[in-house]
């Protein structure tokens, strides 16, 4: 037996069970070739229903105006921008897994990257809805594009963070989609080449772009993936940085903070990983992929959650400290009265956020809890709620009692259409995700095969035996030979 690559035996296998290349294909392609279960139809039906409710809510908003949401002059940004930031943040975990972990050569990313990237793309699609429909006169949305027009030409304001956002989000969406799809080509080819029906062969043939698996193509594909990962890494950091600039460049106390960019990026990854956990725990069970998304994967992601959660906690405390240290009346008011005072109108949301994002993730310092699926699932929901409230706290508690007491708005609560719009994006997200789970290879087949012989359980076991028998000989013959 000759080995191509050696991985430490101390590491947990990434692929459990007795697998060979063909078995990997079978396991991952099986859900595509089977008829969807009853559960799938029910889930898909609920998602589509939510989506339609969202469409009707948007219809109300477009027909009757932004007043359909309970926004007012004081609270101009309410649920909609909260939801926008929340969804964009969720997207960030997918890029972190697919790009940053690729650069850091983390083998475990291969099990989850495909679904996480899908999550990114769908989340960014949902996020994009909010600023677009928030424009009110949505038929003028194309005004944000810089093109030679008959109005002067009057250009967009390139100095405005809101325009930076347009470029950031659209670039992020495009690059994520390209990265994801280029990785899908070889896997679509796998589905195509084993298709039993003519229709499936044709559809996946179109989707695979005629991929053949030629060595030269693989060589270019590897190079392309590496460069796209290198580009996506600063891109993902820039996107949430720019989102935070929407707030940080203003002069509103509570927003006017230099800590925002790193704080937003950490929060985005934190919430994104929670969403990946929520989805993965369900996907691995329903599609029977426990061998590929192992407890080791879940633990690794929980480690990221406790790390980024702690960064976020640090940012919360820094904000409070600086508000006190700066002794600026308005800043102090925003932090210690609007937020810190539990009995102020929105004080409860601040403490809810603190509990969900700062206190509860600390459970994950325990290895036992990190590897407990039930705990992880509930924690992932709690973190998602907490991170939604973080954005709500930042947006609403900073503006609802502004400089002029006569314009204070302490009675803001969302209207049914505002909530309906949010639910509608859940519908959009899960409709896409259900279709993805049925028609797409949910795990990167080719990437799993590439790490199978170094990280598969059966191969690792074999290697341990050889190692034990004659470690010196093993080293000379196998390891040195491989280089």
């Amino acid at each position: 037996m000759s080995l191509l690559k050696y991985e430490s035996q101390q590491r947990e296998p990434l692929i459990n069970g007795n697998k060979d290349y063909h078995q990997v294909t079978e396991d991952i392609v099986r859900p595509i070739e089977m008829k969807p279960s009853r559960l799938w139809y029910i889930g898909f039906g609920i998602s589509v229903a939510l989506l339609l409710f969202g469409v009707y809510s948007i219809y109300r908003e477009v027909t009757y105006g932004i007043g359909q949401w309970n926004l007012n002059k004081t609270i101009g940004w309410g649920w909609d921008i909260t939801n926008f930031v929340w969804w964009v943040g969720i997207g960030h975990a997918g890029t972190l897994i697919s790009a940053i972990l690729l650069l850091f050569r983390q083998g475990w990313r291969t099990g989850v990257n495909r679904a996480a990237e899908a999550m990114t793309i769908f989340a960014v699609m949902c996020a994009g809805q909010f600023p677009i429909w928030h424009m009110g006169r949505v038929w003028m949305a194309f005004f944000v594009l810089p093109y030679p027009n008959t109005r002067g030409p009057l250009w967009v304001n390139f100095n405005s963070p809101l325009l930076w956002d347009v470029f950031a989000i659209s670039t992020y969406f495009t690059v994520s989609l390209l990265f994801w799809y280029s990785g899908l080509l070889p896997d679509f080819a796998t589905v195509r080449d084993r298709a039993k029906t003519k229709f499936r062969k044709m559809m996946y043939g179109v989707a695979a772009f005629g991929w053949s698996g030629s060595t030269k193509h693989w060589q270019r594909h590897e190079s392309l993936s590496l460069v796209l990962a290198g580009l996506s890494t600063p891109l993902v950091l820039s996107v949430h940085t720019i989102v935070s600039f929407d707030f940080a460049t203003s002069v509103v106390p509570g927003w006017h903070t230099t800590i925002f960019p790193p704080y937003f990026v950490a929060g985005a990854i934190f919430s994104g990983f929670a969403m990946v956990q929520t989805l993965m725990i369900v996907v691995r069970k329903v599609l029977n992929l426990q061998d590929y998304i192992t407890l080791g994967h879940i633990e690794a992601m929980n480690k990221v959650i406790v790390l980024t959660g702690s960064i976020v906690a640090c940012a919360y405390l820094t904000e409070l400290f600086i508000a006190w240290y700066g002794q600026n009346t308005y800043e102090m008011w925003a932090f210690f009265e609007n937020r810190g005072n539990l009995f102020s109108p929105y004080g409860w949301s601040y403490y809810l956020m603190m509990f969900c994002n700062v206190v509860s993730p600390q459970l994950f310092w325990s290895r036992k809890l990190r590897r407990n699926i039930t705990v992880t699932f509930f924690m992932s929901i709690i973190v998602n709620i907490g991170m939604w409230f973080e954005r709500f706290v930042i947006i609403v508690t900073s503006v609802y009692r502004d400089f002029l007491p006569s314009s204070w708005s302490t009675y803001y609560s969302p209207s049914i259409w505002e909530i309906g719009f949010y639910l509608g994006t859940f519908g959009l997200f899960f409709t896409c995700f259900f279709l993805f789970g049925k028609y797409f290879p949910t795990i990167a087949i080719a990437e799993i095969k590439a790490v199978l012989k170094t990280s598969g359980e059966n191969y690792k076991a074999k290697m341990t035996d050889i190692e034990k028998a004659d470690s010196e000989k093993f080293y000379i013959e196998e390891v040195e030979h491989a280089h």
Binding site: Y21, H22, P153, T190, G213, R220, L231, P234, K449
Partner: protein, 196 residues
């Protein structure tokens, strides 16, 4: 070249550990490997086959600087020449405020350009059909196609492949054209290489 036909001896391997020495042997014997089709990227196979490095990343760099230049040139023309806005008396040429958009366009141009280049070079597009030497090449087999010329003794190549460890060997005729690839030109001859 389209319209002609080419003959290939196709050998299938089920283990990359067997494939590597086989590639070496086949090239040493002077046969011309048309291509090896694998289900996943086998690291080092490109070197073993004598393929040159890809320069797609250089193309990416060129697209990136095109994006940077486009953004800076376009925004500075708009804000200093075409429609200079007076924003609180601040300079029209506000470069620091343009960095985010410049960065985004750099990334956008590089990514889109590279993916299009990749598809162009590999002849990838929807509705493209290529000659499939073995359907399991995207599943669990490593498929080596050796090009035959008039002088090639096919039986000899077949037995050679079988000795090298191929589990399935056959002869296939494919119509020549871009869809069967054109990388044979870049492959260096075995004896020209150093390091073996």
């Amino acid at each position: 070249m389209a319209g002609g036909q080419k003959k290939f001896v196709v050998g299938c391997f089920d283990d990359e550990a067997v494939l590597f020495p086989a590639v070496k042997k086949v090239r040493k014997a002077g046969y011309k490997i048309h291509d090896v089709y694998t289900p996943f990227p086998v690291h080092g196979l490109d070197h073993a086959m004598g393929l040159r490095e890809t320069s797609i990343h250089t193309a990416g760099f060129i697209y990136a600087i095109t994006g940077t230049t486009t953004a800076v040139a376009f925004i500075s023309w708009i804000f200093t020449k075409d429609w200079p806005l007076n924003i609180g008396g601040k300079p029209h040429f506000a470069l620091p405020a343009w960095i985010p958009i410049t960065f985004e366009l750099t990334v956008l141009f590089a990514a889109v350009g590279m993916v299009l280049t990749f598809c162009y070079l590999c002849n990838l597009a929807p509705f493209v059909k290529k000659h499939v030497f073995h359907p399991r090449a995207t599943d669990d087999l490593f498929v080596m196609a050796i090009e035959c010329t008039d002088k090639t003794n096919e039986a000899e190549v077949q037995s050679f492949l079988s000795n090298a460890g191929a589990i399935e060997i056959n002869i296939q005729v494919a119509e020549t054209g871009w869809w069967i690839g054109r990388y044979d030109r870049e492959q260096k001859l075995y004896k020209e290489e150093v390091g073996y």
